[in-house]
Symmetry: C2
Subunit: 230 residues, 2 copies
DNA sequence: CATGGGAATGGAACAACATTCCATCATTGC
DNA sequence: GCAATGATGGAATGTTGTTCCATTCCCATG
């Protein structure tokens, strides 16, 4: 009854959590994680920092909302029902691409396991594993391994992005690290030495997917389901 | 020649990077990540914050040194040469236990891929996979999948620890999350619903190891080595 | 044995930040 | 119309990482 004439409250440019989150995402995407402060955000919204706190509990709350926003969009785009294994790969790649496009999402995911986005991701992987024929007792471990892989890559990607921001391009940066690795004692680090050469030219996305396939392979090897067709 | 009488410089309690890192680790371990500031550190060392900057570039430098310190100790303890697969599991568990004991290490690992500790971890896993008979072309992907799993769990563990700090015990905290998960729409989140019950009582360490085994299973399934004995 | 200069020190000062406070304004139910 | 509540915006507040700088210590050189 009280919700009668709740038309556009105040001016058309009234503040709201949605508008604040939207502005925050813009700042994060265009200028990076370090650029989001309540001052820049207030300036962007042409208001004061105090007003923002009326709609948002604190910075963590704001970042969580922004992260959930991005992830929810990804999950919505991936409703389609391909075969389970393909659906898992598609979901993983969708998440990777979103994290790659918004590196700050990676930072959030890797430090906030209680985010609303997490059960969504869990559901996405878990229900597909169910379809794949993974026995119930093994679903939790298998799903969490997939989720951990996504979150792990998310964190590393975000960390890399924090460096790229003020450095040269990605390949040059990886070459620097490869050079450091190549300078380690070859007797004690033979493997690192061998791999250093592949570092600058490797594709993060392909390596991420290779990891997903490895895990899926392990799951199928442990539980050869009733359907041998992958 | 110039390095002649460089005995104990200054007083016996002279500042040094080692002593600073040592003190930082003490603070991090006993009072958590949030407790480490240059002021508390200076108080702990009975000096001023300016003096610390003579030995340490900045806070990131300090945290990196502390992290490398802890990881280097773990790696040193695990030199032993069991069979490759067992060695990989032992290394993974060693890292998990260290991260579990020092959650702040997890935070660092999941946000700093250029740490000196990373190539050490890479070498640890990679050289064992070589022994396992994984072909050279597949070693990079397989190793990075194992490393990502460790780093992913590291980040999640650290995030959980940040919450426990001021809450009740761990089981109670997981029960809270499980309750939130259980309140989601069962029609849209059937899997999450089923898994919520297992959440409070599950063992992070076992689940971590299950993930490692899943990945190892995938590696072996993809590359059935010359040695069928695991 | 003095002494000058670089290595170290410690604490004050600075800038940036998240957050809180509060005086003010707009809107709405009465 | 008027009080009460919903929102606002900007000025404090307290804490942080970092810088600055006057001072102290030690060593090599005269």
């Amino acid at each position: 009854m009280a919700i009668k004439k709740q038309r556009a409250v105040r001016r058309t440019d009234a503040l709201s959590k949605e508008r604040i989150v939207e502005a925050a995402i813009e700042i994060l995407d265009s200028d990076g994680e370090g650029a989001l402060t309540f001052r820049t955000l207030a300036a962007h919204l042409a208001t004061g920092s105090g007003a923002i706190y009326w709609h948002v509990a604190n910075k963590d709350d704001l970042l969580a909302a922004a992260t959930n926003d991005v992830i929810a969009r990804v999950m919505a785009d991936l409703a389609g029902g391909a075969r389970p294994r393909e659906a898992i790969r598609a979901l993983a790649l969708g998440l990777f691409d979103a994290i790659d496009a918004h590196p700050w999402v990676g930072t959030q995911l890797s430090r906030a396991p209680w985010l609303a986005a997490i059960p969504q991701i869990f559901e996405g992987f878990g229900s597909r594993l169910e379809e794949l024929g993974v026995p119930e007792g093994a679903q939790f471990d298998a799903t969490s391994t997939l989720v951990i892989h996504v979150l792990g890559v998310a964190g590393q990607n975000a960390a890399n992005a924090r460096l790229h921001a003020h450095r040269t391009d990605r390949t040059a940066f990886l070459s620097e690290i490869a050079q450091q690795w190549a300078q380690l004692d070859p007797a004690r680090y033979p493997f690192v030495h061998r791999v250093a050469a592949q570092l600058p030219e490797h594709d993060d996305r392909e390596q991420f997917l290779a990891g997903i396939d490895l895990i899926l392979g392990g799951i199928e090897a442990a539980h050869p389901g009733p359907s041998p067709r992958t």
